[in-house]
């Protein structure tokens, strides 16, 4: 197993990286750090894809001129172009969701004055309780009248 892992060391690194990202995502209570964890996870996927696209001894998939006006077209010359496309998509998606998540975090900060998701929850429950107490009072008035 270890040998195989060493053979696939890029993938192994990617997996460990994604584990780090996931741990950050789950463990951090600070939203910004959570989002950073998310980005680490995404990066791990890009590394994984890049490793999957690579073929020993081949060039990037940009056609090379053969010197006589034509192009070298043998598939044995170029690496797999599909992972490059997938990584591109992945990056764009990651940028989009990061921006959106940050915008939401900013809004949350404006509302509760904290980036910590637990504190925000605590403040929210506090308000909820106040609200319920208000409802209870109102009900009691109805009952007593």
């Amino acid at each position: 197993m270890l040998e195989k892992l060493l053979l696939n060391h890029y993938e192994a690194a990617a997996v460990i990286l994604s584990g780090i990202g996931l741990t950050n995502l789950l463990l951090q209570r600070n939203l910004i750090k959570k989002i950073i964890g998310l980005n680490i996870m995404d990066t791990a996927v890009y590394l994984f894809l890049a490793a999957k696209g690579y073929v020993e001894g081949r060039a990037a998939p940009i056609l090379i001129a053969d010197g006589s006006g034509g192009w070298l077209r043998s598939s044995a010359l170029y690496v797999n172009p599909v992972p490059a496309g997938l990584v591109l998509t992945g990056i764009v998606v990651s940028v989009s969701v990061t921006a959106f998540a940050l915008a939401l975090t900013l809004k949350l900060y404006e509302s509760y004055g904290t980036l910590n998701i637990d504190e925000a929850l605590m403040k929210m429950t506090q308000e909820q309780e106040e609200l319920e107490a208000r409802i209870d009072d109102a009900e009691e008035e109805v009952l007593s009248s």
Binding site: L22, V45, T89, L108, M124, E139
Partner: protein, 501 residues
């Protein structure tokens, strides 16, 4: 052979919704023009889907077709695929989306600032487009891209109602969803590495070869588990459903209706496609994923209802009930038979029609009670807004599975499907227990709504429901009874659709 017009409908429907989304920011934001445009487009796509369904069922033996996106055939280019099941689902999605929008026009206007309303329409159009794309796509990576659109748009329409509560709910929803997307992405990469394809049909063939030669079984299992887990988080299967009540309970009524009724279903249908088309039922059974799904479905059915019992806010209660209903669907998927998947699809349709109705009704009732959402505040609201009251009663009966209402049809087919399965007793007991629990929280709500209370009624804002509300509620009710009474042809159609899936 199907005619050319119908042949282009899957592509056209996705495209029309996309163009509607892109054009909406450009049109002036007054006179409700964006809303009108969205409704018009969704209605058009709904009619197109109906026509597609009609021509598919009348086209002789070839029930499904592939539509290649571009000049290059299948394994090289992208592809869409349409069959009866896809057509039915897109028809249902469009109908439910349209009704959720029109039914909640007034509450949308109250909840969402005027400046944000055209953006709300953009998001709704994007959601519809992504749902349609998820329904029709034949390519796993396209599915991933549209899942992302779906996620961002869904989180945004939670946050579109401006309040700290919704922001927090949206954030939680987003983070959970992103974990899900991450898992899906990793799984797709693994599958691509194992098969060398992204197209579902080719992946299926490659996986069959792999399974036959017993190679790469471990990566295959892991990728299946990851993709299922990722999509299960997004479709709120029980242990991963903690985000749902916040998101669905706090957003504006139209958003709740759309999210509960449709967005979850898009992801579930993706799971069904992956099970049925990418892996194949035999492989799923071999890798034991059906048992896992079955057990999770059972748990969700019970636990969703148990949580719903403890809610005091009517929208949160309905949201938790969605978790239970998702459990029903996964139960059908976990049976891992054609009949089970057909029953699951029927329940998708039933729930897509009933849950928006319940949310719309709850919105109408809480509007009548002076914008209070607590269950006790709704006392006697039936007499203020009878359409909403009727909607709540019909929805509640449907969720309980009273014969004649939509819910009974899907419950019956689920049960009959589970008779072919070894675990029929478990399925039956869970169905029975879940029905009782459903009744235990829906019936009190109905009773409260029907209870006269002179004191509370003084505070009511007695404005009559608008015409659009009445019409949508009427259509919802009609759909409910239609599904309850005429479900047999539909079920037959779905079964045919599943067979050619």
């Amino acid at each position: 052979m199907i005619n050319m017009f119908a042949y282009n409908i899957p592509f056209a429907s996705i495209f029309l919704m996309m163009i509607a989304a892109i054009i909406t920011p450009l049109i002036p934001n007054r006179n409700r023009l964006p809303e009108k445009l969205s409704c018009l487009m969704i209605a058009t796509v709904g009619i197109l889907s109906a026509y597609l369904l009609y021509s598919l069922t009348n086209s002789g033996q070839s029930l499904n077709f592939n539509f290649s996106m571009g000049h290059f055939p299948a394994p090289w280019g992208n592809e869409l695929r349409a069959g009866p099941l896809e057509a039915v689902l897109s028809l249902v999605f469009c109908t439910a989306m349209l009704l959720s929008l029109t039914g909640n026009l007034s509450s949308t206007a109250e909840d969402i600032a005027p400046k944000r309303r055209n953006i709300f329409c953009v998001l709704v159009n994007l959601l519809t487009a992504s749902l349609l794309a998820l329904t029709y796509t034949n390519d796993l990576f396209t599915a991933y891209v549209f899942i992302e659109i779906n996620t961002i748009a869904a989180c945004s329409i939670v946050a579109v109602k401006e309040s700290p509560e919704t922001v927090r709910a949206a954030l939680r929803y987003l983070i959970m969803s992103l974990v899900g997307s991450g898992l899906v992405m990793i799984a797709i990469c693994l599958l691509y590495d194992l098969t060398g394809h992204l197209l579902m049909q080719n992946m299926h063939n490659a996986i069959q070869v792999l399974v036959a030669t017993k190679s790469y079984m471990m990566p295959l299992t892991v990728s299946l588990a990851l993709i299922t887990a990722g999509l299960a988080i997004k479709s709120a299967l029980y242990p991963f459903a903690s985000w749902l009540p916040d998101a669905h309970g706090s957003s504006t009524n139209a958003s709740s209706a759309i999210l509960s009724g449709l967005v979850l279903k898009g992801h579930i249908f993706t799971i069904i496609k992956i099970f049925y088309r990418v892996f194949g039922l035999d492989v799923i059974h071999l890798l034991r994923m059906d048992t896992v799904i079955f057990i999770l479905g059972l748990t969700a059915m019970i636990m969703g209802s148990v949580h719903a019992l403890r809610q005091k806010n009517v929208k949160r209660m309905i949201a938790w009930s969605s978790v239970a209903q998702v459990g029903y669907i996964f139960l059908g998927v976990g049976l891992n038979t054609t009949a089970g998947i057909a029953a699951a699809c029927l329940h998708i349709i039933v729930h897509a029609c009933v849950k928006p109705m319940l949310f719309t009704a709850a919105g109408g009732l809480s509007n009548a009670a002076g914008h209070k959402k607590g269950l006790h505040a709704l006392m006697g609201t039936f007499y203020v807004n009878k359409w909403a009251g009727l909607g709540l009663i019909a929805g509640a009966f449907s969720m309980m599975g009273i014969p004649g209402f939509a819910g009974f049809a899907s419950k019956l087919s689920l049960t009959l499907a589970s008779f072919d399965h070894a675990t029929v007793v478990w399925a039956l007991s869970a169905l029975a227990a879940s029905s009782v629990l459903n009744a235990l929280y829906y019936v009190p709500a109905v009773i409260v709504v029907l209870t006269h209370n002179k004191d509370a009624q003084k505070n009511f804002t007695a404005h009559a429901p608008t015409l659009s509300y009445k019409i949508s509620m009427f259509v919802f009710l009609a759909l409910n009874f239609y599904l309850g009474l005429f479900c047999v042809p539909l079920l037959r159609l779905i079964t045919r659709g599943v067979n050619v899936l």
